[in-house]
């Protein structure tokens, strides 16, 4: 019997080519090692690493997570062992597992980004893209500040790309209102794609102790609770046609993943769902295939942004 040819799942984000649109979100998949024990993660479109800074970072005071309605708050504080640990401790198994990896990096300022960029020039063959985390709400200096300064976004993107020659994805935070300006700055800086959304600022307090439920008081909200917010952001930025979008925020099922693509995402990122269903990546990928087949859709690209065709305004 001839194996039936499934639908085309290849998508391009600028110069980044993915075999399929299912990728994992930074900070929710480490670099894949743990999940590799549950399924063959080389089947994913790509794996995004935890965000790395130049030097190791201790992270925030515990407690660092707190469950909320249909989601969680986290204030991990970007704990990581520094970019050299990525090269030394993670890259070897990444290669062995045959993962297509997107390296997420963040810095406190342009200078730190520049230094990190220089550190990775020599491994640039091993990673398919860099994701610049300019958006994490947990870190007081790093993240938030950048989002509001479109100049910073542009300059960091430009410098990192110049130094590394690696395709760059800029990850945006939903905590600044309209994301068009940051997205345009990313494009001006030469980004290949944008990722949205990072977590939404939130907090929770204990009514017996009166204390915050997170050591850092505020944290980032993720999970199904934020999905409608993420979908709206993806839809709006898709319409503006600024850069290809990796959509994320609250994806739990293959239906959610498809909804993001219909709203305009070329690829989709799985975050918190990995904590609940360790098999989410492969299950969602398989089910997207089935969905396309059942609808006789031969190319996944034809559903991307389809919502916009359906809307006459």
């Amino acid at each position: 019997m001839v194996k039936e040819k499934g639908p085309n799942l290849k998508v391009n984000l600028g110069t980044i080519e993915l075999d399929n649109p299912v990728i994992t979100c930074s900070g929710t998949f480490s670099s894949g090692l743990e999940y590799g024990k549950f399924y063959d993660i080389s089947k994913l479109g790509a794996v995004t690493t935890k965000s790395f800074s130049l030097k190791p970072k201790k992270g925030n005071e515990p407690p660092r997570t707190c469950e909320v309605a249909c989601g969680l708050l986290n204030s991990i504080g970007l704990q990581n062992d520094g970019i050299n640990s990525f090269k030394k401790d993670h890259l070897p198994y990444i290669k062995k597992l045959n993962i297509r990896v997107i390296l997420s990096i963040f810095g406190q300022d342009i200078a730190e980004f520049r230094k990190i960029a220089k550190e990775i020039v020599d491994i640039r063959q091993d990673i398919i893209a860099l994701e610049l985390n300019l958006s994490c709400p947990n870190v007081e200096k790093g993240g938030m500040a950048f989002c509001t300064s479109t100049d910073d976004i542009k300059n960091i993107t430009h410098e990192v790309k110049q130094i590394t020659k690696i395709p760059v994805i800029v990850k945006l935070s939903p905590n600044v209102g309209d994301l068009s300006m940051p997205a345009i700055s990313a494009r001006e800086g030469g980004a290949d794609a944008i990722s949205l959304i990072n977590t939404v600022i939130g907090a929770a307090f204990d009514i017996d102790s009166f204390k915050p439920k997170l050591g850092n008081i505020q944290g980032g909200l993720s999970g199904p609770a934020v999905k409608p917010i993420a979908i709206a952001n993806v839809y709006n930025l898709y319409k503006e046609n600024i850069l290809p979008i990796i959509g994320m925020g609250g994806i739990y099922s293959w239906e959610d993943a498809v909804e993001f693509m219909i709203a305009g995402a070329k690829a989709i990122g799985l975050g918190s769902v990995n904590f609940v269903n360790y098999m989410a990546g492969i299950e969602i990928l398989e089910n997207i295939k089935k969905y396309l087949t059942s609808k006789n859709i031969t190319d996944i690209n034809s559903i991307i942004g389809r919502a916009s065709d359906k809307i006459k305004r």
């Binding site: 929710t28 999940y35 992270g59 005071e61 515990p62 407690p63 249909c70 704990q79 099922s253 904590f275």
Partner: protein, 262 residues
Amino acid sequence: MKLLDAEIVNNIRIGEGLYKMEFFSPYLCKNFKPGQFINIKCSPEGLFDPFLRRPFSIYDIENNFNVVSVLYLVRGKGTKYLSGLEKGDNINFCGPLGNPLSFENDKKVLLIGGGIGIAPLYLMAKKLSGQGALVYFLCGFKESNFRLLEKDFLRLNADYKIYCEDGMWGEVGIVTDEFASGKNKFEDYKVYCCGPLEMLKKLQAIFSKYNNTVIAILEEKMACGIGVCMGCAVKIKQKGGFAYKKVCSDGPSFNLEEVLFG
């Protein structure tokens, strides 16, 4: 470590807010080691509330029947959901998670449990006594709702002593009263403890004066349970300060003297 569905064999209330759930799992019976834990999804399939998995110890393993049991207190949404499940219902769990304890050189062992903290210790008592160690199991409870467990304790080949604050079971008092005299009755014992923060802090103070190796099984809120999210961080002393370690994948057992309580 596998992600599995399992069928519940029994889920009974054995005291105020206290339940024992038994489920069929040849895989866990074979692979689970004391000190480890599992992660249970506490909401029906496709629903998000509650969202995260909940970590639980394995209380007992009945190899003959391929059944493992979880002893749990109803605290919030997740455990309330569990308490409503019945024989024949399924749970989805992942395990074994965390690091097994090594009992290799344990000849004399003191187990100190506070409240639901006895959950991981019972299986340890069983295994340790099974391998010939002398086991002394010290338990402290606020109320006597754990009382029906006495029959489990009796079945152990181990000495045990109960402290209960309400005076309805064993000695009146808290578990650290055992050390009130100030002299160490357990000088050549390896010590394992699990229980509320206050108990662990007191034990840390008590044992700071002695030479016992004291292993504490810690709890911390977990998101992933498999070392990915960095959520379950605890401060572990290191030269010149501390490092954050992950309860789920670096622990859940740590040297009590090295733990920096917040």
